[in-house]
């Protein structure tokens, strides 16, 4: 049986066939045929955002929380360009997102038509792949291929640009090609598993694992550093087994947080620019570092020339291009974190590292930050942990609060910390949290932002109300773009240029959106207010009036060595 279907209807069917259930989008001229067809496909729940950037971030949040592809839709021109930040964030953090954009009709392309932009050209460097659909007969296969590419190997965003006349074109529909263009592609490099050693051609996977096991066996001061790859491949049990079998302490990068339980005796914390002193000193003293699913980015390493000067590095990553990109490696193993870690567990001999762990314990500094009053980030985060009984997903924005959460929130469950790490996109938390809720409708999600980042995408409160998304919003209000102000304090002679930022009355603002809003000024109010907000059936907003000039300590100056942190001066920290 065949029937005549429009490109728009084929697009909807292809999304349904790919298992898509939620799409985040915003209609407009060039995508109208798609929106015309959409109501015929009730399986596709559409979330009407207030800005296309939020659609991309929400799709990203959905993807990170579910492990499935997040889908966002926008019209041509400004709709498409508004997606760009969200796609760049998804690209930097390896998140599987498929973006569908309307485009002006084919005869108009290249003629500077109304709302025409070359979105394929614009997104080339921030997508794994992108398509301009020139023939409606290719559309279903392209959607299937895009969905496969987004999750295949190292995940990432894919964009499909569909001209309006292609959406309107009707063809005889016989269903998508069974094979699809995606299936004939060779497996990604990493999927095969290869080991790389400098100066040698790729050796076998087994050789790499054996070499890594030998290094671990001979190490006196070994470390495990785990990143986002462990979460993407769900290698939690394998990493934990490896750590417990060998007694090697574990460092979790910003995107690796929650891959290993906080509070485990072997868990050290986050490294890098805002890593605790003992974590960075452990790195600087280590003789072997086994990195699993991380890319040793500059916020982790500081100056690479002085990073881990005594360590021989084993780097396990799915993306072969990451091996040796930022730091020289002794052993590089290309493959899935879970698979390789499982092999490594089998290859290593049981051992202990008690003296080394004790040595690291000697590096631990007592936190010396002080805050005006007692409404500290610790106290706020503890109240969220208690109100949610430790069972919620935390989505953070970018800045000081992001670092406080990364350092202080006691994550116990895997993949419950979601943040924009690589791109560092302010405005991420609120829309991404909407996506997280849709991926985990039974769970609680808290979007934690500063007063700067919250104001970037706070219009999404309307989306939450209209679509029934019970996101809990926490706003850490210090009246500054706090992280920039902190840099100005340290590196720009305390010239607080353009960092003081005015906020509306958030309680009234929430009320205007018919959302319960609360303001917390004293720690004594925390348990009651956060508890009430957490128990709200719908969205809720809590503003925390925190110390204005609190800093995130310690801090490695940009490009500096992990050995030379700026640490808190007790007298100066309380707001000079």
């Amino acid at each position: 049986m065949s029937e005549m279907l429009s490109g728009a209807a084929i697009l909807c069917r292809a999304l349904v066939d790919a298992g898509v259930e939620v799409i985040f989008g915003y209609p407009g001229g060039a995508i109208m045929p798609f929106y015309h067809a959409l109501p015929d496909h009730p399986r596709l729940r559409h979330i009407l955002v207030r800005h296309e950037q939020a659609a991309a971030h929400a799709a990203d949040g959905y993807a990170r929380a579910s492990g499935r592809v997040g889908v966002c839709v926008a019209t041509s021109g400004p709709g498409a360009t508004n997606l760009v930040t969200g796609l760049a964030a998804a690209y930097m953090d390896s998140s599987p997102v498929v973006a569908i954009t309307g485009q002006v009709s084919r005869p108009m392309i290249g003629r500077d038509a109304f709302q025409e932009t070359d979105i394929v050209g614009i997104t080339l460097p921030i997508t794994k792949q992108n398509y301009l659909v020139e023939d409606v007969t290719d559309l279903a296969d392209i959607v299937a291929e895009a969905m496969a590419i987004a999750v295949d190997g190292r995940p990432g965003p894919v964009l499909i640009d569909v001209p309006k006349d292609v959406q309107n074109q009707k063809i005889e529909w016989r269903g998508a090609q069974a094979s699809g263009a995606a299936s004939h592609r060779d497996p990604r490099a990493g999927a095969r598993g290869q080991s790389l050693t400098p100066g040698a051609s790729p050796g076998s996977l087994e050789d790499g694992v054996r070499a890594a096991a030998r290094l671990i066996a001979g190490a006196e001061r070994p470390l495990l550093m785990v990143g986002h790859g462990v979460i993407l491949s769900e290698a939690y049990a394998e990493v934990r087994t490896l750590a417990e079998k060998t007694g090697i302490p574990v460092i979790t990068t910003l995107l690796g947080i929650s891959a290993f339980p906080d509070g485990h005796p072997l868990h050290l914390g986050m490294p890098g620019m805002h890593g605790e002193v003992h974590v960075n000193r452990a790195i600087q003293n280590a003789d072997v570092i086994v990195g699993i699913g991380l890319r040793f980015d500059d916020r982790v390493t500081g100056n690479t020339a002085s990073f881990a000067p005594q360590a021989r590095i084993v780097h396990i990553d799915l993306d072969r291009a990451e091996i040796g990109k930022n730091v020289p490696v002794a052993v590089g193993i290309v493959g899935d974190a879970r698979d390789i870690t499982r092999r490594l567990v089998a290859a290593v001999e049981p051992r202990r590292c008690e003296r080394w762990v004790e040595h690291i314990r000697g590096f631990v500094r007592t936190r010396t930050e002080s805050y005006r009053g007692d409404l500290s980030p610790e106290a706020i985060l503890a109240s969220i942990y208690e109100a949610s009984h430790g069972d919620c997903t935390i989505v953070t924005d970018v800045g000081q609060h992001q670092m406080w959460v990364a350092k202080l929130y006691p994550y116990q469950r895997p993949n419950t910390h979601i943040t924009s790490g690589g791109l560092g996109a302010m405005g991420f938390a609120v829309p991404a949290a909407m996506g997280v809720h849709l991926a985990r409708p039974a769970g609680t999600v808290w979007a934690i932002s500063g007063d700067g980042g919250f104001q970037m995408n706070m219009a999404e409160m309307a989306t939450m109300v209209q679509e029934g998304l019970p996101v809990k919003m926490a706003v850490f209000n210090n009246g500054y773009l706090g992280m920039v102000r902190q840099w100005q304090q340290f590196f720009h002679e305390k010239r607080y240029s353009c960092t003081p930022i005015w906020s509306p009355d958030y309680v009234k603002l929430a009320e205007a959106y018919s959302i319960p809003g609360y303001r917390v000024k004293e720690a004594s109010e925390l348990a009651d207010v956060v508890g009430r907000a957490n128990a709200e059936p719908g969205p809720a907003l809590v503003e925390f009036l925190i110390e204005q000039e609190a800093n995130v300590y310690p801090m490695i100056p940009p490009g500096g060595s992990l050995s030379e942190p700026i640490e808190a001066e007790p007298a100066a920290a309380a707001g000079d």
Binding site: V120, G121, L124, P125, K128, Q129, N130, Y131, L132, I149, R154, R185, D186, P187, R188, A189, S201, D298, N303, T304, A305, S306, D319, R320, A321, G324, K325, G559
Partner: protein, 97 residues
């Protein structure tokens, strides 16, 4: 900026890339070079002999590490079938799917 030490000597590396015969793939491949601002000399695009596959050949002026990074970045692109780097000393490495 990263720590500055004496830059390794630049040498010529001939890079041969087999990739899908599509302008968007070619554009993406050039993007890898443009983003890293790697100087290239000589550039040729020819049919490979296989339908739908082109051969892109260029000469890279870079240190061996940079040449390898460029090859790895090209290699992971969707639409790239193989990347071969030939150093001026005739040794070659192949990054193959």
């Amino acid at each position: 900026m990263s720590g500055v030490s004496a830059p390794p000597p630049h040498s010529a590396h001939t890079v041969a890339v087999l990739l899908d015969d599509a302008l968007v793939t070619l554009n993406r491949a050039f993007g890898v070079l443009r983003r890293r601002n790697v100087p290239i000399e000589g550039l040729a695009l020819h049919p490979s002999g296989t339908a739908g596959v082109s051969r892109l050949t260029f000469v890279l002026k870079a240190d061996p590490l940079t040449a390898d990074r460029v090859a790895q970045q090209l290699h992971k692109m969707i639409g790239v079938r193989s990347v071969m780097v030939l150093a001026n000393d005739d040794s070659s490495t192949e990054a193959k799917r």
